[in-house]
């Protein structure tokens, strides 16, 4: 019996094999997750490397968030593969001309880096717990000390050096990982919608704003849950970061689109028909209008007016939610949008996202939210809260 294939409706002329949509919503979730990783790590680095003291309340949270999301990054890919059990073929025998072959190396290096940096950052906390607790959890922490209980000034200075070095290495690693995701699309010459030299940078900047926005939401939510006051200075610091990077993100994407239209190569008519038709709402209204321009204007207004206190927290949180939504729409419009424009340049397809199934909406939503569940569990084991921060000052200067 032939397997069931999901056939996409189309208009105009499309190649027969294109009528089956090959990259589903999961492939949009994948760059979204890596983007959040890179963005969250940026926040951690702004504190650890660049000394943005006001970001201290979220520095450890950023590191944990980055790790939790990174652990889930391969899952949408694995679920998508026809033979997930062969996934390591690309790492064991990487085909060096393939951008995708680098993924295993980038990802494992980065996970190792995050774990190592996390270990150094949490070492004082781990040692304290290992010495204090006598229960099963105590054993767990004793195991994590790796036999090192030395918290002397000399030892802490050594740790700080490592944290600094790892954070410095982590910046190009995180951004390289995400820029490379952009390259995977931008380097394909088969699709005009993807084949932009600006794609890696666009991915990178949208990644940064999404990660910072995620931290705003997580930080404010955690303060509410823990019933402690929100540190407005920290939120303002994050707001500045979003504001600075969102400007670049908007400009880059606008430039890429302008280039595409201005060059007007073969197939541009179909692209114009697409962006003014099926993509009008997802692209111009949701991604740009509501998701990017609105938070940019709102943040500009708040910065200009010097908004403070609760109004600032509420305003920035709203902006952050919009940015998170915008960046997801950007991933969607690139991955799904690119495939909705036929390679023939003479037809359009329409992706029908299934609700159930291995590559359905429910799985996509679950995979996007699963890192948050892991984060919740990890914050129990390794509290990232700076207000209780007996845990460590290892990263401070």
């Amino acid at each position: 019996m032939d397997p069931i294939i999901a056939v996409a409706p189309y208009t105009g002329w499309v190649y027969p094999n294109e009528t089956v949509f090959e990259w589903s919503v999961l492939i949009a979730v994948y760059p979204y997750l890596t983007g959040l990783v890179a963005g969250a790590f940026t926040v951690s680095s702004l504190y650890q490397v660049f000394g943005f003291e006001r970001l201290k309340p979220v520095a450890h949270l950023a590191l944990l968030t980055s790790l939790c999301f990174m652990i889930f990054v391969p899952t949408p890919l694995l679920l998508h593969l026809g033979h997930p059990e062969r996934a390591f073929n690309s790492t064991i025998t990487p085909h060096l001309t393939s951008a995708m072959a680098a993924f295993g190396f980038f990802a494992s290096f980065y996970v190792a880096l995050l774990i190592l940096e996390g270990w150094f950052a949490y070492r004082p906390f781990i040692v304290a717990q290992a010495q204090k607790r006598t229960d099963l959890l105590g054993r767990f922490y004793r195991l994590l000390t790796l036999g090192s209980y030395d918290l002397s000034e000399h030892s802490m200075r050594y740790d700080r050096k490592w944290i600094f070095a790892l954070a410095v290495i982590g910046i190009p690693a995180a951004h390289g990982l995400h820029g490379y995701v952009g390259f995977m699309y931008g380097s394909l010459k088969s699709r005009e919608w993807w084949a932009s030299d600006l794609m890696p940078v666009i991915f990178l900047f949208s990644a940064i704003i999404s990660g910072v926005a995620l931290l705003v939401v997580l930080y404010v939510a955690s303060c509410k849950l823990r019933k402690i006051p929100v540190d407005a200075a920290c939120v303002k610091g994050l707001a500045y970061t979003i504001w600075a990077f969102i400007m670049v993100a908007i400009v880059l994407e606008a430039l890429a689109f302008a280039n595409l239209v201005y060059k007007g190569r073969e197939g541009v008519d179909m692209i114009m028909q697409y962006v003014t038709g099926p993509l009008l709402v997802p692209y111009f209204v949701l991604q740009f209008g509501i998701g990017a321009i609105t938070p940019f204007l709102l943040l500009s207004y708040m910065i200009w007016r010097g908004t403070a206190g609760k109004a600032l927290v509420v305003g920035v949180t709203i902006c952050a939610v919009l940015v998170l939504f915008s960046v997801f729409m950007m991933r969607w419009n690139v991955v799904i949008g690119g495939q909705e424009i036929s390679k023939t340049g003479k037809g359009l397809l329409s992706y029908q996202m299934p609700l159930f199934g291995k590559e359905g909406a429910l799985v996509a939503i679950t995979l996007t939210l699963a890192p948050l569940a892991l984060l919740y569990a990890l914050t129990r084991l390794f509290p990232p809260w700076a207000d209780k921060a007996k845990l460590t000052d290892a990263g401070s200067h």
Binding site: P16, G82, S90, P94, S98, F103, L188, S190, K346
Partner: protein, 291 residues
Amino acid sequence: MKEESKLSLEARRAFLGKLGLAATCTGAALGVGALGTIQTATAKSEPAASGARSGTAAEGGSFPTPDYDWTQHQWAFGVDATKCIGCLRCVEACKLENNVPRNAHQFRTWVERYVYLDGEQSARIDSQQDPVNIEASGSEKEFRFANRYKDAKVDKAFFVPKLCNHCTHPACVQVCPTGATYRTKDGVVLIDHEYCIGCRYCVQACPYGARYFDEERGVSDKCTWCYHRITKGLQPACVEVCPVGARVFGDTRDKQSPISLFIRNNRVQVLRPESGNAPNVFYVGIDKEVN
């Protein structure tokens, strides 16, 4: 006539190959410099030799023809669109020959129909998978072009057979993360179905839409120019069944092969030359809108 001479040449080569192998085996049995002799003899058929070394399907398992030397051929394909009548026998033969899923969405080869109606600036294009054509054929397992323009005034119309271009610089091979898809020494782009992880990056990278994903096997698939046939001196199935000779196949190393003559005697062109892929399917009689 030329076709026949080519086939007889292939047969002769095959015979000589077998003769060589037999001689080698005798030599080995006699135990005269056994190791050296075997190495010399198997080197004649390099893929089989490398297969024996590594045992991978890419080099050995997919190569069931021991007396075939892939360094001695350079295959190419020709399409004379002026001859194609859109009968779609090629499409059906390909599906049967290569176990291509029997549906209207996955093809190793397909035929496009271009119709310019009176007063219209651009062509109306469809292929056998179009719902109107499927309705006309009555099944997703058989194909025919519906006579949908019978009441219209047609200015110009033609058919264009399509298939994998077996490019010299294939984008699909470039992006494959495992090297499961590769270009053989005789110029054919193949997929090792035992090694493909099913990421479908190659499907995305092909500018010609030549690849599809086989859900049942969890791997990418595409035209192989019937590699299992051509290495035995046969023609690809689509070439074999074409009733009008619109499809031409052969070895460009042989100056008298059908494809060499086709390329020499015609002004040929390739699809999307700007892609830099350097296709090896050469077209005659296609129009500006064909890509």
